[in-house]
Symmetry: C2
Subunit: 152 residues, 2 copies
Amino acid sequence: MYKQLKLDHQLCFRLYAAARMVMQAYTPLLHNLGITYPQYLVLMVLWENDGQPVNDIAHRLLLETNTVTPLLQRMEKEGLVTRHRGTVDKRQQIVSLTQKGKELEESASAVPLGLGKRMASCPMKLDDYILMAQQLDSIVEALKEDKTAKQK
Amino acid sequence: MYKQLKLDHQLCFRLYAAARMVMQAYTPLLHNLGITYPQYLVLMVLWENDGQPVNDIAHRLLLETNTVTPLLQRMEKEGLVTRHRGTVDKRQQIVSLTQKGKELEESASAVPLGLGKRMASCPMKLDDYILMAQQLDSIVEALKEDKTAKQK
DNA sequence: ATCAATTGCATCGCTCGCGATATAAAATAT
DNA sequence: ATATTTTATATCGCGAGCGATGCAATTGAT
């Protein structure tokens, strides 16, 4: 009746579905490495810059610290990272890669290509890819602003 | 070191982040209606076509039934839907809207516009919107095929 | 008609994701 | 210097989301 409520007219459902499908496509690849998709994201953050406080990791991934803390605890239990109190600010937990965590980077370097193969039937050209990345960024930016605005 | 592992080069992270941010933007709007985002999706499916088995709802939303079953149980507890054994196939649970569930449609019809306001600062034109919807569809299609292919 | 394979749904166990709340450390105010 | 506020992290409770497993109804094979 209300055409704005039709599922097929909604961008949000497509985003929701696509994000889950992509995560599912990653799962078997990451399973070989013994990690989950959010853990893979944390590792990418640390591979770029090792030894960050919980807050920085959370901000980078647009997650709350109460999501990241248990995630890191599980990763610590798996021997991927260590956590130490910050020396300057004793409230901070500085998260660092273990040897095992560092060594994972090399095996993980094959993951993006592996995903590419699964997307082979997807008719996206490089231009489409870049445009889409920009559009997603603009959505994220708009909603980040909106979110901080509401917090005031 | 491995540039393919840089977070900023990955479409998947943008998708993941954007999907979560959009869901977060919906949350306050849906909270007024007493429902969550996945429950909103189930209701949209039923508003389009009332009285569907669990499997059809799950397929429409690209979810597994073991996600949808508990979701429906919570919605039944909230008095939004009822579940009855199918008469033709007794394995099926036919899910139908209650009066409360039906009445929610009218209040929900304002939700998409409400979200539009939150996205006001997002510089997307109608053409961008349509193109993005198509691209997301092609990603979902490609990964659906890949998924069913692997199942064989 | 009988037996085997498939299908539809439910249950269990685990990881996320987040709002609400708690606690200690740091920054700021007075 | 002390009191107040803010910040960084942790904990709790709940709703997803999904792989694995179980069970009953249905379908297919012989």
